[in-house]
Symmetry: C2
Subunit: 360 residues, 2 copies
């Protein structure tokens, strides 16, 4: 058995079965779909074993699964601070601890984002050189990979120039390992592409990221605008979590609005109803292309271990996509590579500041 | 002649014929389209008369037009500071001065946004009670009016709590006069709808806007998210110009991406090509619904006079839409109504602060 075979055989993913809007059934269904094409992966499934075992037996995936019994569930309304103090017996806490204890490479949960980030922070701790962890999301785009990466999608509402540099490094590393891009193109989100535009911290970050690019192994394209998020000018878009979250929800809302209007247009006349039938294959291909379920999985970056947040309302397709992403990141050894990159972030930032001081 | 007839007869709009990407031809074509349905409106057309007159004669709209000869043109690359110092003989300056001199109710220009805002600021001056003017844009939405209003779309990258309150008042006034809504619903853009979420200034603005709502004659719905921009929960979305500009460009970029993917989907098979033919009427209705040209016209709010910024790349349809919006605002006496609203903004802000101090 070669080293590669061994690492593939050893792939273990930790899955929080609870906390989704519809309970554990869609999670187990998504797992079954994933395992159908990835029988070499082993799953640690966290939650009330008595409730989960019948679901797993029904889907006939028992041999790929080890149950980790955890009686409690973090609900969507639980406050992060409450979960941090009283959440030790929850499936979410248990799922994260499997990554902490090196029993699994990546953790996937559909639970409450705030609580998942809070528990991930205290159990995994921030990686060396990271001040603010970030959530990276995939954005359907005109690029060949079909997606761009945007971060921070909402882990923290603030980001200073050093955080933005760290996001550039982490985002580039994620694009290499998650999208298979050798030298990702990174851009900084702003209200214009001219160098004099935007907030003060963006101009400082602009210089720092440009300086760090050669050693960070990415290409820096400079400032980008909202229209570049689904565009082909850039692979990784860096922004603070306030702006990123608004952009993400605006993009999702707009795509839903257009799709809904399209469906309505196809129902207006008999001609258009027939047209909808004829175009069904093409339209379902389009739907698949812009389907938010395919981009399900916000990745927490900047911790000692990788955690993927799946949508609370994800169905089996969405859950399978999130676990597929976890497997890809696990196979590529992403956590270790990212840690190596960000460990040098502080040094890079220091260099960048010295460089710009010299330049002045 | 009744007072209403008189005010309709007296409607004069000032149009900057120059500064668009394609020169004056699309502007004159848009004017002709507008005048076809609004022969009672008079236009002051600013630019080099020798160049404009043949275009106007060809379109046979000479009797509705008075030329205001202005030899120079503000280009897309001219810096605002340069135009402020040396722009007196430009068509843009001249077009704004017609509003300043009360010869026209509203000014429309396709020129460079930065220069247009800068010249508008120095010639019209900020209205009493306004610290930062804003650009309000229309957003295709699920609401009955077909549009929501968002401001600031990018006049200023900063906005403190008092600016956000002013934006709420101005946006509500615009929705009343531009969209015909009696009691507009106003929301404040944030990363979540819970009261504890977001930046500090947003929490303060939240309380101030809530306090001002009854006297500002609007309903305050609280925090809204990016997904509400095309939604039906709110009519007016208030945010700072940095976030607003990113949201606007993200929404436009996403809508373009989906439309482009749709066109591609209809070309994949013979079935889908036939389907596209059958569905043509429905699809053109959809296209019209989400056509960015229909929402052409960012309105500068908070100055002594109304200025509408039309897209630099607007074609005749886009220009006609911007002039139609100008006519609607001119007919409703918007500038005076808005001035009256914002004159009380400072008082309202003061009250809100006192109220929240008392509350604590």
């Amino acid at each position: 058995m070669s080293a590669t075979d061994q690492s593939i055989a050893a792939l273990v993913i930790s899955v929080d079965a609870m906390g989704g809007d519809e309970g554990p059934a869609p999670i187990v269904a998504g797992l079954a779909r994933f395992l159908g094409a990835n029988s070499d992966t082993h799953i640690l499934l966290h939650g009330p074993k008595a409730e989960l075992e019948p679901l797993v037996t029904k889907k006939k995936i028992g041999e790929s699964i080890t149950f980790v019994d955890a009686p409690d569930v973090v609900t969507m309304t639980d406050k992060p601070s409450h979960v941090m103090r009283h959440g030790k017996s929850t499936s979410m806490w248990s799922a994260i601890d499997s990554v902490r204890n090196k029993e699994a490479s990546v953790c996937v949960s559909c639970g409450n984002t705030g609580a998942l980030m809070a528990v991930s922070m205290i159990r995994l701790r921030k990686a060396e050189g990271v001040n603010r962890p970030a959530i990276a999301c995939l954005w359907p785009s005109r690029n060949e990979a079909g997606f761009n990466v945007m971060l921070d999608a909402g882990a923290d509402i603030r980001a200073d120039e050093e955080d933005l540099l760290t996001y550039a490094l982490m985002g580039a590393s994620y694009a290499r390992n998650g999208l298979g891009l050798t030298k990702p193109r990174v851009g900084l989100l702003n209200v214009g592409t001219e160098e004099h535009k935007g907030r003060a911290e963006l101009k400082v970050a602009h210089d720092m990221i440009a300086t760090a690019a050669p050693r960070g192994d990415f290409e820096y394209v400079g400032f980008v605008e909202g229209g570049d998020l689904p565009g082909s000018r850039v692979d990784v878009v860096v922004t603070d979590g306030f702006t990123g979250n608004i952009a993400l929800k605006t993009g999702e809302g707009t795509a839903n609005f257009v799709s809904e209007s399209l469906r309505a247009a196809f129902k207006t006349t008999w001609f258009s109803r027939i047209a909808a039938l004829l175009a069904m294959t093409s339209l379902s291909r389009l739907k698949k292309k812009i389907d938010p379920r395919r981009v399900n999985g916000g990745v927490f970056l900047g911790l000692n271990g990788t955690v993927i947040k799946s949508h609370g309302s994800a169905d089996a397709t969405g859950v399978a996509a999130a676990i597929e992403l976890a497997a890809q990141l696990g196979r590529s050894g992403f956590s270790d590579k990212l840690a190596a990159r960000v460990a040098s972030a502080a040094v890079l930032a220091q260099d960048a500041q010295t460089d710009s001081a010299t330049k002045d």
